[in-house]
Amino acid sequence: MYPLVTAVAVFAAAAHLAGAYLSSPKQEAMLTDALLREMLDPSYLDLESGGPVLASRNMKDFDALDYELDSALGPLSPHPSTRDGEYLQHAPSLWGHQYLSGGAGEGKQQLRPDGAIKNKHQVKTDAALPAYCTPPNPCPVGYTADDGCLDQFENTAAFSRDYQASQDCMCDQEHMFKCPSAKNGHTDGRNDISEDDIDRFVHEFQDKNSNKIVAKKYHVKKSSNPYLQGERLPVAAKKGFNVQ
C-alpha cells in the first residue's frame, strides 16, 4: 500500500554501511496523510496548523507541529488524543481594542523626588498601528470623483508632496530629507522604525481623533487600516536599490 522505503545511512569517508532503518508503517502512513491532505483534500485550506511540509512556514509553527507528530497526539493521528482538545474560544477574550495606562504603559517618565517634572500622561492602545501618510488617489481612466478618487490632479512630485504634507501622519525618516519632529532620527540609516516613533505616532493619532481639524479639503481621513493588524513580519522589499 505504502511505498517500500529503505533508508540507509552511509558515511562517505568510511564508505561502509552504517545501518539500515525501516520506518514504521504507521508513522509512514501518518506522515503521508499529513503531507498530502493539504493538497488533495478539498478542505486543504481549513487545516488549523496545516500539514508539515509542501510549504515553507514560520519556524515557530513547526515546533508545535513537530510535537504533534512525534507524540502521535496530533489531529491527524489515528489514535484519539489522551487530552481534551483546546480551543481558541476558551482563551481569555482579546476581542476589541485594548487600552493601557499606568505602570510601564506610561512610557518614558523623568521623575524627580521633588516633583519638579510633571508626569507625562500616556495611554497606549492597539487601536491603530502606525502607517505612513496616505498618497493621493487620482482617478484612473474611466473613473470619476463619484468613485472616491481625485478628479483634480496633477501627476507631479510637488502635488503629492503638498497633498501628503497636509496630513498628520508618521514622517518616514528613512526617505524624507527632513522630518519636522525627528528627535530620535536614525543616523545610521537603518530601515526599521523605533518604538519611540510608533509611540509618538499613536499619541498623535489619538490627538487627531479628538480635536485636530484637517486643513485641506481634499484630505479625507481614513478609518484605521485592517490590513495593518497582526504580527510584524521581517519581510523586506528586494527593491534592488543596493545593487547599483
Partner: protein, 640 residues
C-alpha cells in the same frame, strides 16, 4: 568540503561531453535581395493528416517536419540536400512537389529575417512559418531596452535578449492578460501606462483603498512598482519612454510594500486579490536578503498562494513570479520560502553580456532567468517608466528581472489562454535557453539532467525566450494530472562530521502501485530538519537516481545561527525536471567551514511531485534538436 567540490567539478566535466556542440547556423543576409531556404510550405488536397504528409515527403525526397500550427492539411517540408539559404528559387524541387497528386500547393519559403539564437534553439519559424520582418517600436527609450533587443549597445552581447520581437511578429502582444505588480504602488496616471492600467483589479493595501498611487517621499523611493509595471506593459509607439514586453497587456497595481512593517494579512490579501481578474502576480519582495534569514509565507499567505494556484484564473491557477533575491553569493534563495515554493516561478538575472549579476542569489529552485543591471557601464540598467510620468534607464536588481518574466508569461497566456500554472512552468523549462549565460566566477557549470535538459545552479533552465514560448504555447496540450508522492523518509538522527560529509539514501519506488505514483518529475522537495553549531556553514546536496546533483543549500557566510537550525524546511529543486524518480536518492550534508563545527540531521523526507503519464505525448515535434524533442525521446525510450 574542498574535496567534495573537486568531485563535483569532475562529475560535471564528465557530463559535459554529452552536450552536443554549439550549433551555429549561418543566417541569410537580410539585405540580400532574395534569399530562399530549404523549407517548403506544402498544402495537401484535404485534411490528410501527418502520416500521409510523411509519405508524400518521403516519395519526393523531402523530410516532413510536421503540421503547421496543428493544421491537418498544411505541413512544413525541408529538402535535406538543399542549402539552408540560397539566392535562387529551387524550381525543380518545387515542381516535384507540385506534381504529386496529393499536393494542392507548395511554396518555397523566402529567407528569414529573424535569427535563431542560442543553444539547441526551439525553432519559432518551423512552427509558424517565416516571420514578417517587424518594425522596431518608435518609442524613444526603445534603443536603451537591450533586454528586449540586444544589438550590442553598451558593450552587451548581440542577440542576448528575451527574443520578444519573435513573439510580437506572431501577433502576440499580451492582449486580455492582466499582470499585478505587488509592490509600492503604480503611477497609473503615467502616459505610458494609463491606458493599459486595469483599475478594477488594483488595490492599495497599505492605505486600504482601491487606488494604489505611490506615496511621495523626498528620495522618490516608491518608484519601484511603477518601474516594474513599465517593463510588463508600457504602451508601444506613443512617443513615451520605452515599450513593455507585453505592450498590449493590462497591468494592475497592488500597493502592499509601503508601510512601516509587513503583516501576514497584507501579504495574504495581496496574493489573493481578484484571482479571476488577475492572471499573473509579480513579486519583488521576500525575507530580508541578509544571508542569515530563513523565513517564508505565514499561514494566511500560504493559504492564499495555494488557493490561487488551485482555484485562481477560474481553475487554471494563477502564475506567481518571484524575484530570487539580491543577497548575492552569501545568500541562498532556498532559504526564502516564497522563492523556493513550487507554486512560484523563481527568476534570477543575467547581465547584458551573459554573466550572472553580482547580486544574484542562487538556488536550485530557480526555474529560469531574465535580464537586469550589473555591467560596468552604468547605462546598462533596465530602461522603463518612472514616477510622475518620467522615464528611467537605471531600474535594477533581480526585482527588475521578475517583471520581464511576468511579461513573457503574459505573451504565452495570450497565445493560449487555457494554459495552467503548471503548463507555464513546463513551457518555461522547454523553451528557456542556455544562450551565452555563464558564471563569471566559474563555479557553476551547465549540466545535463537525466532526460537531456541543461540546467545551471545560477540560471535554472536558462534565459526566457518569448518567441519560443509563444510558438510552443500555441500548440500546447495541457499536461497530465499531477500527483504527490512521499518517496521515503529517514527519521534517525545522523551526525554531520566536521571534516567529511555524511551520506543518506532513500530508495523509492515513487509510490508505484498506489494512486499517487509519480513517473515524470516536476518538483522535488527534500524536507529536512537539522541543527548545527553554525547553520550557515552547512551545505546540502541532493542527487537523483538518474545522477543529477542539486545543491539544495549553499554556504551562507553570515548565518551564525546555532539554535534554530532548520525544522521541516522544504528545500526544493527543479533540476530533476522530467526525470524518473524511481531508484536511490542521495543526500549529502557537510560543513564548509574553517572552524570545526558539528551538527545533526534529524529528519529527511523526500517529496516527489509530477505526473504518472508522460507529459508531452500529444505535442508534435517539429524540430529534432529542440528540448521538447530530446525530453520526449528520453521519455519514449523509458517506456520501451
Amino acid at each position: 568540503a574542498v574535496l567534495l567540490l573537486a568531485a563535483l567539478v569532475v562529475v560535471q566535466a564528465g557530463a559535459s561531453p554529452r552536450a552536443s556542440p554549439r550549433r551555429r547556423r549561418d543566417v541569410p543576409d537580410p539585405n540580400a535581395p532574395h534569399v530562399f531556404t530549404n523549407s517548403f510550405l506544402v498544402k495537401l488536397n484535404g485534411d490528410l493528416g501527418n502520416d500521409v504528409a510523411h509519405q508524400v515527403a518521403q516519395r519526393n525526397g523531402f523530410e516532413n517536419l510536421g503540421p503547421v500550427l496543428g493544421s491537418h492539411n498544411e505541413f512544413h517540408f525541408v529538402h535535406p540536400s538543399l542549402a539552408p539559404a540560397r539566392t535562387k528559387r529551387s524550381v525543380p524541387h518545387t515542381r516535384k512537389l507540385k506534381v504529386d497528386p496529393l499536393v494542392k500547393h507548395a511554396a518555397q519559403q523566402p529567407g528569414f529575417l529573424r535569427v535563431k539564437r542560442g543553444y539547441k534553439p526551439f525553432k519559432v519559424e518551423s512552427l509558424v512559418g517565416p516571420l514578417r520582418p517587424s518594425q522596431d517600436p518608435t518609442d524613444p527609450y526603445f534603443s536603451f531596452q537591450w533586454y528586449l533587443k540586444n544589438t550590442g549597445q553598451n558593450g552587451g552581447k548581440p542577440k542576448l535578449d528575451l527574443n520578444v520581437e519573435a513573439a510580437w511578429a506572431q501577433g502576440i502582444t499580451g492582449k486580455n492578460v492582466t499582470t499585478a505588480i505587488m509592490d509600492d504602488g503604480v503611477d497609473y496616471m503615467h502616459p505610458d501606462l494609463k491606458f493599459n492600467y486595469n483599475a478594477r483589479a488594483s488595490y492599495d493595501f497599505s492605505s486600504n483603498d482601491p487606488f494604489p498611487y505611490p506615496r511621495y517621499t523626498d528620495d522618490w523611493f516608491n518608484s519601484h512598482g511603477t518601474r516594474c509595471a513599465g517593463e510588463v506593459s508600457a504602451a508601444r509607439d506613443n512617443d513615451v519612454c520605452g515599450v513593455g514586453v507585453a505592450y498590449d497587456s493590462k497591468v494592475a497595481g497592488i500597493r502592499m510594500l509601503d508601510q512601516p512593517y509587513m503583516t501576514d494579512l497584507i501579504e495574504a490579501n495581496s496574493m489573493g486579490h481578484e484571482p479571476n481578474l488577475i492572471d499573473i502576480y509579480s513579486a519583488s519582495w521576500g525575507p530580508t536578503d541578509d544571508g542569515k534569514t530563513v523565513d517564508g509565507p505565514r499561514n494566511a499567505t500560504m493559504r492564499a498562494i495555494v488557493r490561487g494556484v488551485n482555484e485562481g484564473r477560474n481553475g487554471l491557477g494563477n502564475i506567481y513570479v518571484w524575484a530570487s533575491g539580491d543577497g548575492g553569493e552569501d545568500d541562498d534563495c532556498n532559504c526564502d520560502g516564497y522563492a523556493a515554493s513550487m507554486w512560484t516561478v523563481s527568476i534570477n538575472s543575467a547581465i547584458n553580456d551573459g554573466q550572472n549579476a553580482h547580486y544574484d542569489e542562487s538556488c536550485s529552485s530557480t526555474l529560469a532567468s531574465t535580464f537586469s543591471n550589473g555591467a560596468k557601464d552604468p547605462n546598462t540598467g533596465v530602461a522603463t517608466t518612472d514616477l510622475y510620468g518620467k522615464c528611467t534607464t537605471t531600474h535594477s536588481g533581480t526585482s527588475a528581472a521578475a517583471p520581464e518574466a511576468a511579461g513573457v508569461f503574459a505573451l504565452a497566456l495570450e497565445a493560449n489562454p487555457q494554459l495552467t500554472w503548471r503548463d507555464i512552468q513546463h513551457l518555461t523549462v522547454l523553451t528557456s535557453k542556455r544562450n551565452s549565460l555563464y558564471d563569471a566566477k566559474n563555479r557553476f557549470h551547465w549540466t545535463m539532467n537525466g532526460v537531456g535538459l541543461e540546467f545551471n545552479h545560477l540560471f535554472g533552465f536558462g534565459v526566457l525566450d518569448a518567441g519560443a514560448i509563444v510558438a510552443l504555447a500555441k500548440q500546447w496540450r495541457t499536461v497530465p494530472a499531477r500527483y504527490h508522492c512521499e518517496g521515503g523518509a529517514v527519521h534517525t538522527s545522523l551526525e554531520i562530521p566536521s571534516d567529511r560529509s555524511v551520506l543518506m539514501k532513500i530508495t523509492t519506488d515513487a509510490c508505484a502501485g498506489t494512486d499517487t505514483k509519480v513517473r515524470y518529475l516536476e518538483h522535488v522537495q527534500a524536507v529536512i530538519s537539522l541543527n548545527s553549531t553554525r547553520r550557515g556553514d552547512v551545505e546540502l546536496f541532493l542527487t537523483s537516481p538518474m545522477g543529477t546533483r542539486s545543491m539544495i543549500l549553499s554556504k551562507r557566510a553570515n548565518d551564525d545561527d546555532h539554535r534554530d537550525g532548520f525544522t521541516k524546511w522544504p528545500f526544493m529543486t527543479t533540476h530533476t525536471w522530467g526525470e524518473d524518480p524511481h531508484g536511490t536518492w542521495l543526500l549529502e550534508a557537510s560543513f564548509n567551514s574553517q572552524m570545526p563545527q558539528h551538527g545533526f540531521i534529524r529528519e529527511w523526507t523526500l517529496m516527489l511531485h509530477g505526473t504518472r503519464d508522460p507529459p508531452y505525448v500529444g505535442l508534435p515535434v517539429t524540430d529534432p534538436h529542440s528540448k521538447l524533442a530530446i525530453v520526449k525521446k528520453a521519455h519514449e525510450e523509458r517506456k520501451a
